[in-house]
């Protein structure tokens, strides 16, 4: 039921990969090695959680995949099926903070990727409506970020990431700052979006529970410099819902993953 071994992929799988990291390291100017060497293969349509202690480089890994920073060594490959139509973008990124422009309405925040790509206004409008509908914020389209709750702001951020219909969704502890009830609700919404839209999701979190609840595969990273420690396949039946959260199966997965996390916090001061 629980597989503890690293993935071994055959040549047949290779074309089916959305993201592939080979021997990636990241060393900062200060000489601190934040990451690696890291090897990671994520299949198209897969939901993968990167789990690890603060400072293990999981956010750095995400920024490397997004192309926001360059690896010090190794290669990052991102394969996108998406045709290069105007305004489309292969990657959607959701940060820990909602990261909205406070001076722009919800609608204009979601419009940003199109605006920067000089996309036609009519095409964009239809896509924006669709994305707002997907996150349940249609009636708040003309509101300003300050008028929204933390959870709603996060939904706007999610809509902005989805609006370009990306193949890959990168999420950097997106729900970490929310209260638990809101987080549970957004977890469920994210799962149903993932099931319906067939996106590849790489979800960075430091919550064992969240990683098990959401993902098909949990990758536990070691403390700095981050490497892949253990991998778990979460083979629970789909679709998952609240009954999974209270099941014995869920608890067993969580225990398993927690045990793998233990070396990261045992005997470490100030981690």
């Amino acid at each position: 039921m629980i597989a503890g071994s690293a993935l071994t992929e055959t040549e047949a799988d290779a074309a089916d990969l959305a993201v592939r990291l080979r021997g990636v390291t990241k060393t900062y100017d200060t000489g601190v090695t934040a990451l690696g060497p890291l090897d990671l293969a994520v299949k198209r349509g897969e939901f993968v959680a990167l789990l690890g202690p603060s400072g293990c480089g999981k956010s750095t890994a995400l920024r490397l995949i997004a192309g926001l920073s360059a690896p010090s060594s190794g290669t990052v490959e991102v394969n996108s099926h998406g045709a290069a139509r105007r305004g489309s973008h292969p990657i959607g990124f959701v940060f820990q903070e909602p990261t909205l422009m406070p001076w722009a309405s919800v609608r204009d925040n979601v419009r940003l990727p199109f605006k920067l790509a000089h996309a036609a206004r009519n095409d964009a409008d239809a896509r924006i409506d669709e994305a707002l509908d997907q996150v349940g914020l249609v009636e708040f389209a003309s509101a300003y970020p300050r008028e929204l709750s933390g959870g709603m702001k996060m939904r706007v951020s999610l809509a902005r990431a989805l609006v370009t219909d990306p193949d890959i969704l990168l999420m950097d502890e997106p729900f970490a700052a929310l209260d638990e009830i809101t987080r549970f609700r957004l977890n469920n919404d994210l799962l149903s979006l993932w099931r319906n839209l067939h996106k590849t999701v790489i979800f960075v979190t430091h919550s064992v529970f969240e990683s098990v609840y959401l993902s098909q595969r949990v990758i536990v990273m070691t403390a700095r410099p981050g490497r892949i420690g253990t991998e778990f396949r979460i083979t629970a039946a789909e679709p998952r819902g609240e009954e999974f959260r209270t099941s014995a199966e869920y608890a067993a997965f969580c225990r398993e993953v927690s045990n793998a996390m233990a070396p990261s916090y045992a005997g470490q001061a100030g981690a």
Partner: protein, 262 residues
């Protein structure tokens, strides 16, 4: 909306003002002070009305100078900050001189400017020297206060330098720029007044500060007070207008423009 606290906040300064005027009037009357030493408030008001043709013309001159200095300071400060933001090299080369210009008292620079420049130009340059620095430093601060992740998002979606400037940096800097302009408004009035005073009786100008200097020589003390009153009111109005513009531009989104209830 109008809670007792609001009323107190409004009434308290009004009461202080009334008390001050009454005290002034009383001191003049009790000690029988002559108007050429200290005029009573009523006389100042009468002079203001009686001399209005002369004073209003002077007010117009000073306000025009202030406006020109302010516009020059706003454009110069913002443009310089944008240049600094695009090129560190430029910033390192020029910023120290902006500071030197700011810390040297303008009253000491004004006489020199009057030697080399036409008086009209010298007055505007004075207003500019005093007022541009807060715009420059506030705009620089604002442009550097952009959310790191938002900048990352712009990078992810392939934004050009111009797009990043127009759609991210400038809007993010707007509250800072407006705060700088609010300071610059009052300072450009000060700059204009300092230059007019420096030009003094030798000057060909006819601004309010020139009237103050001129009335001083003629011992027309009531007119000095009337002109001073006009300068104060002008300063208050300039500040009020800029604060209103700032509020209207920011009220939908910025913390500084939000009431307590939200």
């Amino acid at each position: 909306m109008k809670s007792p606290q609001h009323i107190v906040r409004f009434l308290a300064p009004v009461a202080v003002f009334a008390a001050g005027i009454l005290l002034w009037e009383a001191i003049v009357r009790i000690n029988d002070i002559k108007p050429y030493v200290l005029p009573d408030p009523l006389l100042v008001l009468k002079t203001l009305v009686g001399d209005w043709p002369v004073l209003s013309q002077s007010l117009g001159v000073t306000l025009l100078t202030t406006l020109e200095g302010f516009i020059a300071a706003a454009l110069g400060g913002i443009a310089l900050a944008l240049l600094f933001n695009q090129s560190k090299w430029l910033e390192y080369s020029l910023f120290p001189y902006a500071v030197i210009l700011q810390v040297t008292p303008v009253i000491a620079i004004a006489p020199l400017l009057l030697i080399y420049l036409q008086q009209g130009t010298a007055v505007i340059v004075c207003a500019w020297i005093v007022a541009f620095f807060p715009v420059l430093s506030n705009t620089t601060l604002g442009l550097n206060s952009v959310d790191r992740n938002l900048a990352g998002l712009f990078q992810l979606y392939g934004a050009s330098r111009l797009q990043t400037l127009l759609f991210l940096k400038l809007p993010a800097a707007l509250p800072y720029i407006l705060a700088g302009l609010r300071i610059a408004g009052g300072l450009s009035l000060i700059g204009a007044v300092v230059a007019e005073i420096a030009a003094g009786s030798a000057g060909a100008g006819s601004g309010l500060a020139f009237r103050i200097a001129e009335s001083g020589y003629r011992l027309n003390i009531p007119r000095m007070f009337a002109a001073l009153l006009l300068l104060s009111v002008a300063g208050i109005v300039i500040y009020g207008v800029l604060a209103l513009i700032s509020h209207l531009l920011l009220r939908r989104w910025h913390e500084s423009a939000l009431g307590k209830e939200s």
